[in-house]
């Protein structure tokens, strides 16, 4: 009797099998991983989740002093007019919280296989669960930081340093967050897939992210980039994310639908490439790690 089996494991995987349905079935596990990350991170610390705020706050202050006051880099994304001038502190904070989400998510998902090898070596669950959980648990820190950003924004408005100029593009905000999550996860899992074979890349990732930050308008305004390099510069999908973020909350700055679309394009490419590579290594990485 030929029998149909619910689960079939064969030597060769289908080229793309995203396990999305299965990953969804394990959503409780994603939630628990997120919770575990959060609890274990802040247990036995005095300040607890406040730590999520301290780091970007200090970075913002340092940026404001060094890049803003000392180096006098522009904090403008477009040509200066009266209304484009916004407090440097807020400008840097917006960039910093987006960037810190991106970089912490990339580095934690990049180490997925290595940090979880003891669990993954013993039991099966859709491997995508663990990078997805890191992506989400970093979003909690981002949420806290974003709240801090809003508080400062309101403070500056209250002080009369700027006006309320929420852009009509506010509806884009959730889409922007999703794009940022997909991008960070995509890049992270590409690295994680490659690190199962070459550990060197794990060393490179911290450094690589630092270089990437210089290529992204976090510590300076987009205005600094010469027009002729603009197309190349905009290939970096983090650039339209950060400039659009600022545009949404400051009501001024740079928003170019074409470049934004291009950013989505490269995000999708990296995300899909990541999942394909991840899928290729997840079946046998235990043999090599």
């Amino acid at each position: 009797m030929e029998q149909q089996f619910k689960t079939v494991i064969t030597a060769n995987s289908k080229w793309i099998n995203l396990h999305l349905k299965e990953t969804y079935e394990y959503r409780d596990l994603i939630f628990l991983f997120v919770r575990r990350d959060f609890v274990s991170k802040y247990k036995q610390t005095i300040l607890g989740p406040l730590w999520a705020v301290i780091q970007p706050l200090l970075t913002t202050i340092v940026f404001t002093v060094i890049f803003g006051s000392l180096a006098n880099l522009t904090t403008l994304d477009v040509k200066a007019t009266e209304e484009t001038v916004i407090p440097a502190f807020l400008f840097y904070m917006a960039g910093t919280i987006c960037w810190s989400y991106f970089s912490s998510t990339v580095s934690s998902t990049a180490n997925t296989f290595i940090t979880n090898s003891s669990i993954m070596g013993k039991v099966y669950f859709p491997r995508l669960v663990s990078p997805a959980a890191s992506t989400i648990s970093n979003l909690i820190s981002f949420g806290i930081q974003f709240a801090m950003f809003l508080i400062f924004l309101l403070y500056f408005i209250w002080k009369g340093k700027m006006e309320i100029r929420l852009s009509g593009y506010l509806f884009l905000f959730p889409i922007l967050i999703i794009q940022m999550m997909m991008l960070a996860m995509g890049v992270g899992i590409i690295v994680s897939a490659l690190t199962t074979k070459y550990r060197d890349l794990a060393m490179l990732i911290g450094f690589g992210l630092q270089l990437w930050q210089y290529g992204t308008p976090v510590a300076y305004g987009l205005r600094l980039v010469p027009e002729k390099y603009m197309k190349t510069y905009m290939l970096n999908p983090m650039t339209p994310i950060i400039t659009s973020f600022r545009y949404i909350f400051f009501g001024t700055g740079y928003f170019h639908a074409g470049y934004y679309g291009m950013g989505w394009g490269s995000t999708m490419i990296l995300f899909v490439l990541g999942i394909v590579l991840f899928n290729k290594v997840e079946r046998t990485f235990m043999d090599t790690i």
């Binding site: 009797m1 029998q3 089996f5 619910k6 689960t7 079939v8 494991i9 064969t10 030597a11 995987s13 394990y26 409780d28 596990l29 939630f31 628990l32 919770r35 575990r36 609890v39 274990s40 247990k43 036995q44 003891s118 669990i119 993954m120 070596g121 013993k122 039991v123 099966y124 669950f125 690190t195 199962t196 074979k197 070459y198 550990r199 060197d200 890349l201 079946r283 046998t284 235990m286 043999d287 090599t288 790690i289």
Partner: protein, 431 residues
Amino acid sequence: MAEKQIMVKIDHVSKEYRLGAIGGTTLREDLERFHAKIRKKEDPTLKIGQKTQEYGKRFMALKDISFEVEKGEAVGIIGHNGAGKSTLLKLLSRVTAPTKGSIGMNGRVASMLEVGTGFHPELTGRENIYMNGAILGMSRAEIGEKLDQIIAFSECGEFIDTPVKRYSSGMYVKLAFSVAAHLDSEIMIMDEVLAVGDMKFQQKCLGRMGKAANSEEKTILYVSHNMNTIRQLCTRCLVLDHGELIFDGGVERAIDLYMDTAVKNGSVDIDLKNKRMAHLPPVIKAKMTHVHLVDKQVPVYEFEEKLKFDLSVEAKTNISNLSVRAEIRSADGGSVAAGILQEFTSFFAGRSKILEMELLLRGLVPGKYFVLLVIYNVNEMGTYDDLDAVFPAFTFEIQDSKHALKINWNVNAWGKIRLDDLKCVGERDDS
């Protein structure tokens, strides 16, 4: 009778590993190797003494295995270290994929290759139940439903809201097993998880598993070196040897076959590096790396001959007052006797030593035996911290070619030890 439903079908499955390629390589090593290859020089990344031809040689951990398991069956899998048991379980629990062939499974699989997978020390017992359950594929609602049962079974009720890092190792194991035992999965895969915990709890676990197979119609695949638990739980047994399935059938015949191959395959130089019993803490402070039976070609000893072995131990941290215990087990897994040497040596971190050990097998009657080697510390509380344990570390056979026993020893009735002969110190007239 209705046709039984097949729950697991292994169809011509092979698994191949590349020797030397195990473990992460660096890009530099790969480039160096490539560079050396085009200059036809020796591979610079090889370890000294390793032959070029050996590198990248393929090693078949499993060779063309096929079998089927029906619903409600409890199948034991036995074989020696390196026979492919663990590889088979890894394939079944989808930790890694086969090189050839396919595996079909009907239903959810709960794999217990280790107790407490995913336990996080900072989380409480209750939180870890949810965590562990979710890793094994249960939903929150399902775990919630069974929570009381799990806690009751684990006997850890009082401490359920304490972080598990404060648990004793026994409690840890009990809690972990309880979660796994209450899974609603149709197929359960266990790798010697019952080898831990006290005897009473072991029996409770076996009882629970037996019930799962008999009345709840769950399918169980169980790997163990302890033949008594295999006898107790399983209705059918597979014997693996060097990656091949050499027997599939009744439990008693399987155990006989296993015992025969045990000594036939017995070696006098055994690598212990990758062997470590599952119940030990994951942090390795010291590791037994090799054991060599001195002056022997085959591991066969005469009655009351001294068993001499060189035990290589590598310390990862500073270790003082190391103790060694050699537990002699009979081929069916029962304990026979043990030789102990307490607190006799110390190690500096990173150093390895070869300990030249001797054990007089006084009174041990002819037969086949397995040795479980443990290195441990005695802590301030007077309890033992096992640093490393391997079973079986080696096997040996005792024979009596010189007829020192002078009688046919009835093992089944008289046991495995011949005490010193009864003495008659006097005879009196009783009249």
